[in-house]
């Protein structure tokens, strides 16, 4: 099992803030909108350095999405920022009509996704956002795994013409991806080559998959671990190439099983290469208050859950 050394733990939202700051300097068309969560989204530096390109909309997310759509018409590249819950479910019709159907170049940037938002509880812990966004025709959906990758993704989506949903989170997690790694939208990242099982993970579950891989290696199981940072478009060939070799799959994500990464991969495999699959995800349930670690344990999103899923799926191999 390959080693993934890191020097510090950082939050992915800070990677977003750092990416925005770079864009502020490098791309004069980038504009930023926020619905009263500038600090939480780490947008402060951009707001301070480029006040003329920063739009505080107040607690009015629907209006924020509409204004963003309008700004694209004058050639701007708007990045909207609020919590994932208010970035998706609250404004679904605005995104659907004014952004996705209208083909507008809006970057919907969403923090505090999933259970790791923690103590605020289920009202704020959206676990359906990836599904909501990936169902929209023409929407690109990205869920990076650490600070460096979130920063790189933020910068990369400014150069991509089309609506994007970028999801990140609140807790600090190991920052292990190389700072200079280019972010390629739609291209999965091979983390560890293996032969016994393919583990496809996204977002915060990527590090947990690495930890699971180490435990599996100690048991003599050689896991292939792939970071699927782009949920849509899915890197079909990376998935199929891996599965042809390993012949069984575990997916891992901080999201509902319905509509998430596992669901996308299962759909692909059912069509192209029927394969045993186990999914580590939240199973049709809302979250609750608690610390991020407690919640990940209670809802079955820890390395041990990935290990158990691997054992189960290997046993199902023909």
């Amino acid at each position: 099992m390959k080693k993934f050394p890191y020097t510090e733990k950082k939050d992915t939202r800070s990677g977003f803030g750092a990416g925005l700051s770079e864009l502020g300097k490098s791309n004069p068309n980038v504009v930023v909108l926020c619905a009263d969560l500038t600090g939480s989204l780490k947008m402060d530096a951009f707001a301070k350095d480029h006040p003329e390109r920063f739009f505080q909309t107040g607690i009015a997310e629907a209006n924020m999405i509409g204004i963003a759509a309008g700004l694209t018409i004058g050639g701007k590249i708007p990045f909207t920022g609020t919590f994932a819950n208010f970035s998706t479910g609250r404004v679904y019709d605005q995104i659907r009509q004014s952004v996705a159907y209208s083909g507008k170049n809006v970057k919907i940037c969403a923090s505090h996704a999933g259970l790791t938002l923690g103590e605020d509880g289920a009202t704020h812990q959206i676990l359906e956002d990836l599904g909501l966004m990936k169902m929209l025709p023409g929407m690109t959906v990205i869920n990076p795994c650490d600070y460096n990758q979130t920063k790189a993704a933020t910068i990369a989506i400014a150069d991509f013409n089309g609506p994007v949903y970028l999801r990140f989170g609140r807790p600090t997690v190991p920052n292990f991806t190389p700072a200079d790694q280019k972010f390629e939208i739609g291209k999965a990242v091979m983390l560890n080559e293996g032969t016994d099982v393919s583990i496809f993970a996204t977002g915060h579950l990527v590090w947990k998959a690495i930890e699971a891989g180490e435990q599996l290696a100690a048991m003599g199981i050689n896991a292939e671990i792939i970071n699927i940072h782009t949920i849509k478009p899915l890197d079909n060939s990376a998935v199929l190439n891996s599965v042809r070799k390993t012949r069984c799959v575990v997916t891992a994500e901080e999201h509902q099983m319905n509509g998430g990464l596992g669901d996308s991969i299962a759909q692909l495999l059912a069509r192209e290469l029927p394969t045993p699959i186990e999914m580590v995800a939240v199973n049709d349930s809302f979250g609750e208050s608690g610390t991020p670690d407690q919640l990940m344990t209670k809802y079955g999103l820890d390395p041990v859950n990935i290990v158990e899923a691997v054992k189960k799926v290997i046993a199902r191999k023909a």
Binding site: A60, G74, G75, Y101, S102
Partner: protein, 282 residues
């Protein structure tokens, strides 16, 4: 500068187009469309600075219009076509399979003149504000116009947008509310009385103008001209425009009944008799 008589000719032809388009597919929204003919004809033939010969999505250097109440697409399409954005004969494809003239306007089919999809109500003012903010960033002193139904004001997003535009001094926008007093289920007073819209928009910080005769082309032209003079003074501008739903076709006037119903053959003939061909039918 077009003369009132010239604009009237266009108005009459647009009315014919509207009833013929909805009749041909037995669907669409003639009532609200007919009520806003004078407004759209004034905008596109008199008020706005725009270039229909080479449509550019960014509209830099041009005045822009956003139709928020997208269901009145027949009047929008007819006026765009007669302005030269696309061939008038394409009006015959309205609401038919593979058309660019979808039931509600969209950018998805790349129809020249349309810059946003609309139909799900309440979103157009926010979009217009965004376009107006982009104009300010681009040092482009053109104006952004938007049109809304009065029933549409029941959507909450309108008031988010209204609050924002005044608070942030978006003074290069002129929004108009079509006050025909009707919506699908009945009059606005029956469905959800909204009280004084003037008082509401003034309280939100808008510069409010009344247009009592929204179906009188000269009044519309002069009010839009006046509204333009009110831009650039730190406040968004609102025109409260009184119109008659179904205007110009006697049996469609004074009722919400023709909101989303097409005329039959006999009714079409009657409507066309009341509006004789001026510029040639599509």
């Amino acid at each position: 500068m077009a003369s009132t008589a010239e604009l009237e000719k266009i108005v009459t032809q647009v009315r014919r187009d509207i009833v013929r388009m909805v009749h041909a597919v037995n669907s669409g929204h003639p009532g609200g469309s007919l009520g806003c003919v004078e407004y759209l004809v004034s905008l596109y033939f008199e008020t706005m600075k725009h270039d229909s010969s080479k449509f550019k999505m960014d509209g830099i250097g041009e005045d822009l219009f956003f139709l928020s109440n997208g269901h009145i697409s027949p009047v929008f399409y007819s006026v765009l076509a007669h302005s030269g954005y696309f061939p008038v004969k394409e009006l015959s494809t309205f609401r038919k399979l593979n058309t660019r003239l979808q039931g509600h306007p969209t950018t998805h089919e790349h129809l020249e003149g349309v810059r946003i999809a609309s139909g799900s109500l309440g979103q157009g003012m926010s979009v217009a504000i965004g376009a107006a903010l982009a104009k300010k960033l681009n040092k482009d002193n053109s104006i952004v116009y938007s049109l809304h139904g009065d029933g549409e004001l029941q959507e909450g997003q309108i008031w988010e947008a209204a609050m924002y535009a005044a608070a942030k001094k978006v003074d290069n926008i002129i929004s108009t509310v079509d006050m025909n007093g009707q919506q699908i289920d009945g009059s606005t007073d029956q469905v959800l009385p909204m009280g004084s819209l003037r008082a509401k928009f003034e309280a939100f910080g808008w510069d409010v103008l009344d247009l009592e005769k929204g179906n009188d082309i000269a009044s519309v032209v002069s009010t839009l001209k006046k509204a333009k003079e009110h831009t650039g003074k730190g406040k968004p501008v609102m025109i409260l425009m009184k119109t008659e739903m179904g205007n110009g076709v006697d049996f469609m006037m004074g009722s919400h009944k023709w909101h989303g119903v097409a005329p039959n053959d006999e009714q079409l003939a009657q409507a066309l008799n009341q509006n004789t061909e001026t510029l040639g039918d599509y």
